[in-house]
């Protein structure tokens, strides 16, 4: 990673992660929840670097609305684990200023849906500050929180912001699908000097898996091949990666094996891994939990057409959430999401 000393004045920079170091094994019996993996990444970075602090609604005394920050107030105290009022525009903007001045804020949005009232600081200031100051002031900030539908929260609380926000240059966007990646990607996010939009899912916070105790840094822009096959390439981001894996299980019973690529980050987008897989399978389906119009799936498919069109034996296909506001009723919400059945059907439909 390039180290750029943005704020050399009075505060020492921490060393940047060494990405040449191999990642620890995903196999093991240290099974913890997704939320604990996030907490471990934050706590480790906070121990390493005093400039890092966590702010958000209910993160301190309440121990986190979703218990991600449980116990952190006890360890780091109220000056670094800070309860905010319900005032996203205010505290996101405040942290933008703090980041310009050299601190490394982690801003927890209880839901990314609530970040919309902070659109001016997070879209107009955070990603553009380095550019419009001619390289003088960067914005090393991590904005994180729950993204996506799935808990019957209705239209206003179910935003998948990736389609909307990834459009803006100057930001990076990470979206883990499992506890192991959650820890490694968040660690990288906090260490990175650029603004990171980090998308979690309330529906996954209780997911359990082996997570190594040591801190490790998963490089941005490197997808993980979560399952291997040659019939079709499934590309996905965040929670729907798990739906793809479920669909793949079902398809395997029918003798259909697919590649499932967990992209891990949206910006940067590991297009090389997608191309490599498409050259093998000649078919691609992009599974994206945001809306289809001008979204992430559109972007991936455009890049595939630009870069490996001749390798396709079938037009690219996308499986998105349905193009309607998020419904409340359980059945409707399930049908709205890119669920395993819809994904498996899409695969069956494009096979010869």
């Amino acid at each position: 990673m390039t180290t750029m000393d943005l704020h050399p004045a009075s505060i020492e920079n921490v060393p940047q992660p060494d990405f040449s170091k191999p990642l620890p094994s995903r196999e093991g019996d240290r099974v913890i929840q997704f939320r604990e993996a996030l907490r471990e990444a934050m706590s480790h970075e906070m121990r390493q670097d005093e400039r890092v602090f966590l702010i958000g609604e209910e993160v301190a005394q309440y121990n986190g609305a979703y218990k991600v920050s449980q116990g952190m107030l006890d360890e780091f105290g109220p000056k670094r684990i800070i309860d905010s009022p319900i005032s996203e525009n205010g505290f996101a903007g405040m942290c933008t200023g703090a980041a310009m001045a050299g601190l490394r804020p982690i801003v927890e949005f209880m839901s990314w849906s609530f970040s919309l009232v902070a659109a001016d600081p997070i879209l107009n200031n955070v990603p553009k500050m380095l550019y419009m100051s001619g390289g003088q002031f960067g914005c090393p900030i991590v904005l994180r929180g729950n993204d996506g539908a799935g808990g019957q929260l209705g239209s206003t609380h179910s935003w998948c912001v990736e389609g909307l926000f990834a459009n803006v240059p100057g930001m990076k966007m990470a979206i883990p699908s499992n506890p192991y990646d959650a820890k490694g990607l968040l660690a990288t996010a906090i260490a990175d000097p650029d603004p990171i939009f980090f998308l979690e899912s309330e529906r996954m916070l209780g997911d359990k898996a082996h997570v190594p105790e040591e801190q490790y840094y998963i490089p941005f822009g490197k997808a993980r091949l979560a399952r291997e096959g040659d019939a079709c390439t499934l590309v996905s981001f965040g929670r729907p990666v798990n739906f793809c894996l479920e669909a793949a299980e079902k398809l395997a019973e029918e003798g259909i094996e697919v590649d499932v690529l967990d992209m891990r980050t949206i910006r940067p987008l590991d297009i090389e891994s997608i191309i490599e897989s498409v050259k093998k399978t000649n078919r691609i389906i992009v599974v994206d939990q945001s809306w289809p119009f001008a979204g992430i799936s559109s972007e991936v498919i455009t890049q595939v057409c630009e870069r490996c069109f001749d390798w396709l034996d079938h037009q690219p296909v996308r499986v998105n959430t349905e193009d309607v506001p998020t419904p409340y009723a359980k059945g409707l919400e399930y049908a709205y999401l890119p669920n395993p059945e819809r994904i498996a059907d899409a695969v069956r439909n494009i096979l010869p």
Binding site: G90, F137, K172
Partner: protein, 365 residues
């Protein structure tokens, strides 16, 4: 006789500003006149289409930038709205870097990527002019947060005060209320300076803000010390503002200032000013802050005369003229600069079309 005693010969009551040295006040006069001269040239360059985009002229309000910035330390952070040339100069930005920025040249303070509304100067602790009305107010809260955090948690800094400027048009923005609430809640050292020139673009204050005669109530609502300052008299600015700075620094608390001032030009260069009368403008020009200070220095302190004032103006005019000539002849940004300063850590595949990289060093760094 001491200087302080001579300074106050026309007044019976001693003033804090009496303690300011003649050199300091001559420096302020110089700074105010520099801004006025600079803005005159800016308007000319804009009319000649050398400067593009939006351009907001500071003429008339000089005592605010110079008096308030003159009351703080150099490492106290400053953040601004888009009417920002005056503060940038008052903070010590090289007029060449300021003018070149408006000309869109590589030698500009933001390498030609910001323009008139985005004057940033890191060595002078200037965290930018900001274009969206009120957007800089949470940033100011954040700069104060960082200052307090550095002092209190990291133990690396001294107690600082952030100056956060906004126009009266910004006081209606929700962001400002949130910014004030957070500053008061966390007890952060930021002073919100409302440069109240009476107009939000073309809408008079009584037409854009409820209870506009009593803006202090808004600061008081958050238990902030709230002060109204007549901003046309720079000595009065110092008399009232300096103690406030000291208090905010010492107690690490926010404050609110309703700073009464007046802009002589329109909101922006494209403003026909049909919302106010020429008489009103003339009435304020008669109370001009530069003329006020000059009068004090000539007739009370007797530290400048007509000849030296003329020489000062001539010298400043030459400095500004040089900044224009410099900007005329300065190089455009390299085409490749389009893709730099987007990321501090550029990586592959951040964009389907752009390859980001590190750019030329900013001329101010």
């Amino acid at each position: 006789m001491t200087q302080a005693a001579t300074a106050n010969k026309g007044n019976s009551k001693p003033r804090l500003s009496d303690e300011l040295s003649n050199d300091t006040l001559l420096g302020w006069l110089r700074s105010m006149q520099l801004i006025r001269e600079f803005e005159t040239r800016t308007m000319q360059a804009y009319q000649q289409a050398k400067i593009g985009g939006f351009c907001h002229i500071y003429t008339g309000q000089e005592a605010c930038a110079v008096g308030t910035i003159g009351s703080v330390n150099h490492d106290d952070p400053v953040v601004l709205a888009y009417r920002d040339h005056g503060h940038a100069l008052a903070r010590g930005m090289d007029p060449k870097a300021c003018m070149a920025e408006m000309y869109g040249k590589a030698a500009g303070c933001a390498k030609g990527k910001g323009g008139s509304m985005h004057m940033f100067d890191k060595p002078n602790h200037l965290y930018g002019g900001h274009g969206i009305v009120g957007a800089q107010t949470p940033l100011g809260t954040g700069l104060a947060f960082a200052a307090r955090y550095e002092w209190e948690v990291l133990g690396t800094g001294s107690k600082k005060v952030c100056l956060c400027y906004l126009g009266d048009g910004a006081i209606d923005q929700g962001a400002f209320f949130e910014a004030m609430n957070l500053a008061a809640l966390y007890s952060l050292p930021v002073i919100y300076i409302i440069e109240n020139n009476g107009y939000s673009m073309g809408t008079a204050i009584h037409r854009h803000s409820a209870n506009s005669e009593n803006l202090l109530a808004r600061g008081q609502a958050f238990d902030m010390k709230s002060v109204k300052i007549d901003g046309l008299d720079i000595l009065n600015v110092y008399d009232q503002f300096k103690p406030l700075v000291d208090e905010c620094r010492d107690l690490q608390r926010p404050a609110f200032v309703d700073f009464k001032t007046y802009r002589y030009q329109g909101h922006s260069m494209s403003d026909p000013q049909k919302y106010r009368t020429k008489d009103e403008v003339d009435e304020f020009k008669a109370k001009d802050s530069i003329a006020n200070l000059l009068d004090h220095l000539m007739n009370e302190r007797e530290c400048i005369d007509e000849d030296s004032w003329k020489a000062m103006r001539k010298e400043l005019a030459a400095i500004v003229r040089e900044s224009v000539e410099f900007s005329e002849n300065a190089a455009d940004p390299e085409p490749g600069e389009l893709y730099t300063d987007v990321y501090a850590n550029p990586q592959p595949n951040l964009s389907p079309t752009a390859e980001y990289r590190h750019g030329a060093k900013n001329p101010l760094l």
